[in-house]
Each structure stands twice: as C-alpha cells, then as structure tokens.
C-alpha cells in the first residue's frame, strides 16, 4: 500500500505534463495565412489562400473535438523582416499554432527558421525555393505544392529535349530567382545544353525591354524566365512586343501561374509551356473543388498555390485530429509525415522525411485563343511527371534531417 502510494506520487508529476500535452492548447487551433496581400504576388495567393484555408476548416465543421479552428491572415509585403516580425508576434502573443502559404522564398526561409525556434508548424505552399527541404530544412516545415527543382525538372527538361539547348536567363534578384536559375541550369547542363548568360533583375520590375534586348543579343535559343507573378507577366508582354518570338527565340516561363495567364490573355501567352502541380480542370475532383472555391472568389479559378494551402491545412487538421494535440510542432509535423495524404486537389500522396510533399506534377501548354472554350480554360496537358520523378531525390537535397537518419 505504502509502496503503491509512493509510486503513484512519483508517477504523478510525469503524468500531468503528458496529460496537458495531449490536448489542444487554449482550446483554439489558430492557423495564420501569411502572404503577399497587396503586391505582385497577391493574385496567385492573397485572399484566395485565406478562403482556401477556411474551406479546409469548414470541412472539419470548424472544430476538432472542443477546440475551435480559427483562420487569421496578414500581409508580409514581400519583406522578410516584416514577415518574421508578424510570425513572432503570432506565435508569442496571439497563440497561432501554424503558419501557411508564405510565397516569396526570402520570407519563407525566414519563417521556417522562426517556426523551428518556436517549435510550431510551417506548411509552405507559395514559396518556390527547393532549399526549404534542402539545406534549410527543419523538422517543423512541410513544403506542399511545388519547388524550383520540380519546375526546372519539368519545364527545363521538356524544353531541352525539344531542341532548346542554348539558354539565357532573366532572373529575379533574390533567393527564389537564384534557386530557380541554379536548379534549371543543372537540368540544362545535365541534358547536354549550354547556358550562354544570365541577367539579374530587381524584384517587381515594370520594364523588361532592356533585359530582353540583352537576351536577344546573346542569340540563345531559349530565354528562361526565372521570375514569377507580375515580373513574368511583364517579361512575356515585352517579349511579344519586341518581336523576340518572331525573331526565332523561345521563352520558357519557369514558374507561371494561372493568374498570370489570365492577366496576359491567351493571345499573348499561347504556346507557352509550364509546369504546375495543380490545374482546376484536371479531373472531376479538382473541378468540383475549384468551382466551390470560385463561388467564393467572384468566379475566379484557383492557382496551384491556393489549392496547396487548402490541401496543406486539411492534412494538418487530420494530423491534429489523429494526434489530439497541437502544442508540439515537431510532433504534429511527424504525424503529418506518418499519415498518407488524400485531398480533392492533389489526390493521394505522402510527405517525405525532409518535409517535401510528394505528388505528380504536370507539364502544360497554354492554349491558343481558338482552342479555349471559355474563361479560365487555358491549359492543355502535355505530360504527367509521375511522383517518383517529380521532385528532387531525397538523398540529393543535403537536408540535415535526412543525413541524421542515416
């Protein structure tokens, strides 16, 4: 009897923290959507990502057990210092449990670090840099939708194989552009192609004619656009005006979103090849989900980033439900990796040890105006890149998490 009570007294302090961990902290699951709400990336993520996150929360009836699911959002203005400031405040003061979306690789790398320091959860959809699951991987990050390696592997490969063996890059002058150029350069060179030159342009440039003239002077067959959003739109528009394509050179948009094509119009954009992990008109499931999203967004159709936010939040909530707790970010991400993923936007998939979400990606070509049946009918499928080849092999990423496991 005495021994038993002593044992119990010893065991109790151990049991209490365990009991506390096994529930939702403060009875609220708070998810913060952090992205560009007002600048050049606002249409590919922005409020559309917030709606997507809300749709995932609604599928759980707005709560798990007794814990309410709450979605908050903020604008990082594409500035890493503002982004990490918001993240720190969210985590420390406002009890946010997970941050999602975060386009702009510069900001995303900063958020990955803050999240790991605070042991929360970071599910990235908008950023491209493959370093998030490479050198900069953390046990708290999941990179959902796409990355620079997948883009390079998809578009780069296809273009080189179609005979585009000399390249000139127009590269956005920050983490993302440089990562995309690096990964594409590797693909081009591995396939026997040659890179003749590149030019770094500042983020959010309005006039690309100078840069395009340099690309033209290089006589490269392919002008690779290692930029995104408004920058890609302006590059393609100026290229069409300056007769780059008529001159025999071809453009390769390495990261092109549905919203970019919408802004360009099919007349300017047709024939462009691009890699995407999601297209609304892919199958019945994506169509049904996209229409639901569109009904909340003035009839627009979602980009892959917005679909990725939805799917990422959905899987996060599934993991929380299975785990019954949201306090320990590492444990939640470990659970996310352990559970297979399944959602209407990306189908069935998995999350790898380095945090990379794995699913097929697709090579599309932008339709001619005559081929399009109506608004938002923009892409035709060229080929599917199966899961096994879509993303960088685990062992090539230099992710310390993977090395530690060996």
């Amino acid at each position: 009897m005495r021994i038993a009570s002593r044992l119990l007294a010893l065991a109790l302090p151990c049991l209490v923290p365990l009991g506390a961990a096994a529930e939702m902290t403060d009875n609220v699951i708070k998810i913060g959507v952090l992205n560009d709400m007002s600048g050049l990336y606002a249409d590919l993520g922005g409020m559309g990502s917030v709606e997507a996150a809300k749709m995932a929360a609604e599928e759980f009836g707005g709560k798990i057990g007794n814990a309410k699911i709450e979605i908050v959002f903020a604008d990082h203005q594409n500035k890493p210092d503002i982004g990490s400031g918001i993240a720190t405040k969210w985590y420390d003061v406002e009890h946010v449990d997970a941050i999602v979306d975060v386009p702009n690789s510069g900001v995303a790398l900063a958020i990955a670090k803050v999240t790991a320091d605070k042991n929360k959860v970071f599910i990235d959809s908008g950023a491209a840099t493959s370093d998030l699951t490479g050198k900069a991987c953390t046990p708290n990050t999941v990179h959902w939708t796409y990355d620079t390696w997948a883009l390079a592997n998809g578009t780069g490969n296809a273009v080189v194989k179609a005979g585009g063996d000399t390249w000139f890059f127009l590269t956005a002058d920050y983490a993302f552009g440089k990562a995309l150029e690096r990964d594409t350069r590797a693909v081009v060179e591995a396939n026997g192609g040659k890179v003749l030159g590149s030019v770094l342009h500042p983020l959010n440039t309005t006039d690309f004619s100078s840069f395009l003239l340099q690309a033209q002077a290089s006589k490269a067959k392919i002008i690779g656009l290692a930029n995104a959003g408004g920058d890609t739109i302006n590059s393609i528009k100026a290229a069409s005006e300056f007769g780059i394509v008529q001159g025999g050179q071809k453009l390769a948009g390495l990261l092109v979103f549905l919203s970019d094509i919408h802004a360009l119009g099919l007349k300017t954009a047709n024939g462009l090849q691009l890699t995407s992990a999601f297209y609304w008109d892919h199958d019945d499931m994506t169509r049904a989900w996209s229409k639901k999203w569109g009904a909340r967004m003035n009839g627009r159709m979602p980009t892959m980033v917005q679909a990725g936010v939805y799917a990422g939040v959905l899987h996060y909530l599934k993991a929380l439900k299975a785990l019954g707790a949201d306090g320990d970010g590492k444990a939640v991400v470990a659970k996310m990796k352990a559970l297979p993923t399944d959602d209407p936007a990306f189908g069935k998939g998995t999350i790898r040890a380095d945090g990379r979400k794995i699913h097929p990606v697709y090579l599309y070509e932008v339709k001619k105006p005559s081929e399009s049946k109506g608004p938002w009918d923009y892409y035709k499928l060229i080929k599917e890149i199966p899961t096994a080849q879509a993303f960088r092999p685990l062992e090539q990423g230099e992710c310390p998490l993977v090395a530690a496991k060996k």
Binding site: V199, P202, D207, S210, G243
Partner: protein, 295 residues
Amino acid sequence: MNTLFGVPIQALFSQLLVGLINGSFYALLSLGLAIIFGLLNVINFCHGALYMLGALVAWVLLEHLGVGYWAALIISPIVVGLFGVVIERTMIKRIQGLDPLYGLLLTFGLALVIQGVARNYFGVSGEPYDIPAQLTGGKNLGFMFLPNYRAWVVLVSVLVCGLTWFVTERTRLGSYLRASTENPVLVQAFGINVPRLITITYGLGVALAALAGVMAAPIYRVNPLMGADLIIVVFAVVVIGGMGSILGSIVTGFGLGVIEGLTKVFYPEASTTVVFVIMAIVLLVKPAGLFGRTA
C-alpha cells in the same frame, strides 16, 4: 571597335533607345507634377494613382463601352482631369496656405484610397490591353527591333512636353501662370481669377498623368499598382530637375530614362537604385536641383 567598355556598340544603341522610351513616361509624369508644384505648392502624391486611373478608364472604355484606344486617348484625360478638378475644389483648396506637409499627407492618403479601391475590384495582376491595330509590329533598325508603339510613345511625349513648355513660357495664359507662382496676391489685384487658374492648372496636370496612363496601358498591364511602382522614381526626377521647373522635369525625365537604361547593361542589379543615387549627388552639389532656382 565594335565594343565600348566591353559592351557591343549595337547593344548600347538599343539600350539608349529603350531608355529614351522609359524616359518619355518619366517626362510626361514629372511634367504634370512640376506644373502642380509650381503653382499650388502641393506635392501631388496621388499623381501615380491618377496615372493608373487614366489607364483604367481606357480599359473600362474598351471593355464595357467598346470605345477604342484613339478615343480613349482624349476621353480618359478629360474624365480624370475633371476628377482632378473635383479633388482640387473639394479638398486641396481647403489646405491652401498651410504647411506643404498637409498637401503631401492629403494626396498620399488619396493615392492609397484610389489604389485600394482599384485593387479591390481588379486584383493586382491587372488586365490586358492590346496595342491598337495601326501601331502593332515594328521596324528593324539594324541594331534593334523598334516596336511601332514605342516609337509612337516617344513622339507623343516629345510633342506634349514641347507644347506644355510653349504654353507656359510663350503664351499669355502661361505668363499668368508664372506670375501667379511668383506673387498670387499681386496677380489677383490685376483682376485675374487666381483660384480658377489654380483649379485649371491642377486639372491639366492631372490630365497629363492620365494621358501617360493611357499611353502606358498597352505596354504594361492595366493594373492598380502601376502608378505606385512609378511615382517614387518620378518624384526623384522632379527633385533632380528642380522642384517646379518645367524644362528641368522634361530634360531630367528623358535623361534619367537613358541613364537607367545604361545601368541595366552595366550593372542591372542597381537599375532601381541608380536614380536615387543621382538624386543624392545632385542634392549635395546643387540643393535646388539642376534647373531649380534657389529660393
């Protein structure tokens, strides 16, 4: 012989030309700003937003009313100019005589409101606006392919700048304008309606911004942020040229376009900052600007 500082001469020529094209927009916009500052002493921070509004009106005309580019070139500046008159009559008028800071705050606030409303309705990616059929295509100049539309932009810009300079420097209306800048009380004593002159000037300055907006629509996209991207550079142009100096803003507008173009060849990473570096240097050496008069 074929290279200069390691850059092929041909590339240099084409960059000079491209710089001139961009300079046309700087010149058109800074011209309006200079006129407004000269007479109203208001730093018109909503100039960029009104430039965007000019493009947006052209897009709405085309998309919803079927009115094409050529008509928009006239209608849009009138519509936006009238909007400017309303702004001046209802708001800017009330802060006259106060510290210029109030004008800056008011117009900056207006810019945010106009941009915010436009963003809410149109998103940030913008809407496509085609080059008018008569101006599509281009000419091969040997060293570069010059799109007809860009040549047209330079032409119009030079004409408009020249016309504005002529009106302010060589006509009676211009002499009233210049006199009211110097001493509004005295001019009013001669029986000239200075408040009306001020309203007209503001309307005209704004109409110039809208004209630049329509000209820009086919080159860039019509998007709510197009003005915000440009306005800071244009302000630098006005400061370098000398606040309120019309000739200064025209010359600096074209000149800075060219310098920026050249920077894009020699050190592209600095192309967005070079204008401000020049501004800092000019302010150190000649605080009133290149063409400004010291007060």
